[in-house]
């Protein structure tokens, strides 16, 4: 028999008290991890999406900012047109090191000529592109040819087929990009030449032809030169090019960032209230338990237990219960958020990226520490009180 074994036996012998602490720890730990996963998942997704675009400034037609952002993040179909001639004007602005156009398209919904319904399509200029091209260079050893594309992490060639059909045009999928948790994971990237070729073929092969207005683009992605100030350059672009809105990278997806902040606030509020109430309940239960067991602690002191021993045995019992409750709570939360991630994205209207196994382990570890600290703190005062009491007084009823 030792301190730990005694604590475990005492837990087993008091099922009602133990269950209350166990359940509180389970609920709070599970809720904490769910909150962290959702909020972190949304923030991380936005960060990676911004990185994927790779631009310091994204220039779109005035009034189309939220449409373009929604299209990129959530896949909401959007049409946004910017005159191609703006590219030269933007390139001439001091501080701009590179400008590259992108054209945003969408496959048809439930059409026989498209093997993917409402897929977001991004056409880029391989001569000036700096977003997808580095990945292409690294993974494919060069750029895409006519009729070739790379897809987000969830894009795949249909089973039994060699190509993906869009508007009756056959596209060869050359590879998949890393996940971002946004609609970019369900998007395809190909060159502007491929887009124009697709539009040509769609006139005879598609249910509806693909319309690409000549000399228009959807967005211009801007890379700044070393030392250039992003506010300064954005302001200059607005002055130099009428009718455009430059979105600075930190402000990219601002509406979604605000939504996530709002979500964070609400979820943290709920978590705090639940956490505080649970700790209060746990404290009450442990206080009652310590009171009920005063006589038992008095006997232990009579047998030779020090005050420190009595304190430790009560706190360890609480800690073990916290751990026993937190572990299944965390497992349940991790599994539930993972399984329902599509629903979370649709329900909350924010992008979401589930963490990697290592990151998840780190978050779980942090939650376990939090649960242990909270519960042992709740147990500390009643345990201290009982341990300091005269053994004779403890044993009196």
């Amino acid at each position: 028999m030792n301190l730990w074994r005694l604590a475990r036996r005492n837990i087993a012998g008091s099922s009602y008290r133990s269950s209350v602490v166990f359940l509180c720890a389970l609920v709070v730990a599970g809720l904490a991890l769910s909150t962290i996963l959702i909020v972190r998942g949304a923030s991380e997704s936005l960060r990676l999406a911004s990185l994927r675009l790779g631009a310091d400034i994204v220039v779109v037609a005035e009034g189309t900012e939220s449409k373009v952002e929604s299209a990129l993040l959530m896949g909401t179909p959007a049409s946004a047109a910017l005159p191609r001639s703006n590219l030269q004007k933007i390139a001439a602005v001091p501080g701009v090191a590179a400008v590259s156009p992108q054209l945003y398209l969408s496959s048809l919904k439930n059409a026989s000529c498209c093997s993917a319904s409402e897929m977001f399509l991004v056409a880029f200029d391989p001569a000036t592109d700096f977003t997808v091209s580095p990945w292409l260079q690294k993974n494919l050893g060069g750029t895409l040819r006519l009729g070739e594309a790379v897809g987000g992490t969830y894009v795949f060639t249909p089973e039994g087929e060699q190509n993906i059909r869009l508007y009756g045009y056959f596209i060869t999928l050359k590879g998949n990009l890393e996940p971002t948790g946004t609609n970019l994971d369900r998007s395809m990237f190909f060159t502007l030449d491929t887009a124009n070729d697709m539009a040509r073929v769609s006139k005879t092969q598609a249910d509806q032809p693909l319309q690409i207005a000549p000399d228009t683009i959807s967005a211009a992605l801007v890379k700044l030169g070393a030392g250039a100030d992003v506010h300064d350059v954005a302001a200059r672009i607005m002055q130099a090019v009428p009718g455009v809105m430059p979105i600075e990278s930190p402000n990219l997806f601002l509406a979604f960032r605000r939504q996530i902040s709002g979500l964070l606030g609400a979820m943290l509020g709920i978590l705090s209230i639940t956490g505080i109430l649970s700790l209060v309940l746990i404290g009450l239960v442990l206080s009652m338990a310590a009171n009920e067991r005063r006589r038992e602690m008095g006997v232990l002191k009579a047998l030779g237990a020090t005050r420190g021993f009595v304190f430790k045995v009560l706190v360890i019992e609480a800690g073990l219960l916290a751990l026993a409750g937190a572990l299944p709570g965390l497992a349940l939360a991790a599994l539930t958020v993972y399984l329902f991630r599509s629903l979370i994205i649709r329900g909350l209207g924010v992008p979401f990226l589930y963490p990697s196994p290592l990151q998840l382990l780190g978050l779980v570890g942090a939650c376990i520490i939090g649960a242990l600290m909270g519960v042992t703190l709740a147990a500390a005062y009643p345990a201290w009180r009982v341990s300091r009491e005269d053994a004779a007084i403890s044993m009196r009823e």
């Binding site: 028999m1 030792n2 036996r9 006997v299 047998l303 030779g304 005269d390």
Partner: protein
């Protein structure tokens, strides 16, 4: 062996009401004595026993065990001394309900014994055999009668081979026959070993089991007879 010098104990109840449980008690108990302390409820017998065992701090006076002032020791040393020198038998059911009989008897080894776990288990089994409960090793306290539980407590009290046994009304909740059995057991242990026993009871008929009798009233020792 045990010496109380002008020991007093005053309890402060709720509402600042003070109760003097023991008043200027002086007592000397030599090794090998079996002292029976009698008195009415509230006479201070239990408090006297608790003072001897270091279970409560005296308001005044000294408690000396083998010449060592108990309350000059720190908590750790006092606990160690208590586990090695004393064995306790309480009036109330004092077995830990979540442990088996064997585990309960072996419990003092956590605090006092220097032996290995195996030795402690062996000794626990021997003591349970001594008290006639060898077949109840793996039972839980709730599965035993009051008399059987008290026997287990006696076995537990002897685990660390203490020099002093303190028994606070060990038979008050038992029927006459069981009371006689427990007292017989204690007398057998007393006769076999050189153990010093202080036993508190409100039953004057039990005085005959001891080698010395004390009577208490209103917190003071009023009568002593060998």
């Amino acid at each position: 062996m045990i010496e109380l010098r002008d020991v007093s104990k005053t309890y402060t109840l709720d509402g600042d009401q003070a109760v003097e449980a023991v008043r200027d008690a002086s007592l000397s108990v030599s090794q090998g004595e079996f002292v029976i302390i009698t008195g009415r409820s509230g006479s201070g017998k239990t408090t006297l026993l608790n003072l001897v065992g270091g279970m409560t701090r005296p308001t005044a006076g000294q408690v000396l065990i083998d010449g060592v002032d108990l309350w000059q020791l720190g908590d750790r040393e006092q606990s160690r001394l208590r586990s090695r020198k004393f064995g306790f038998i309480f009036q109330f059911p004092s077995l830990l309900p979540s442990l088996t009989v064997l585990e309960n008897v072996a419990l003092p080894a956590m605090f006092g014994a220097d032996g290995s776990g195996q030795e402690d288990t062996r000794r626990s089994q021997e003591l349970l055999e001594l008290v006639g409960l060898a077949e109840k090793l793996h039972a839980y306290p709730r599965q035993l009668s009051a008399g059987q539980q008290q026997r287990v407590v006696v076995a537990r009290a002897l685990l660390n081979q203490p020099a002093i046994l303190l028994a606070d009304e060990p038979t008050s909740d038992l029927d006459e026959q069981t009371e006689h059995e427990i007292m017989q057991l204690l007398r057998d242990i007393y006769r076999r070993t050189a153990i010093t026993i202080l036993l508190v009871t409100h039953t004057s008929q039990l005085v005959s089991y001891g080698s010395r009798a004390l009577k208490m009233a209103a917190g003071a020792i009023i009568d002593e007879s060998a």
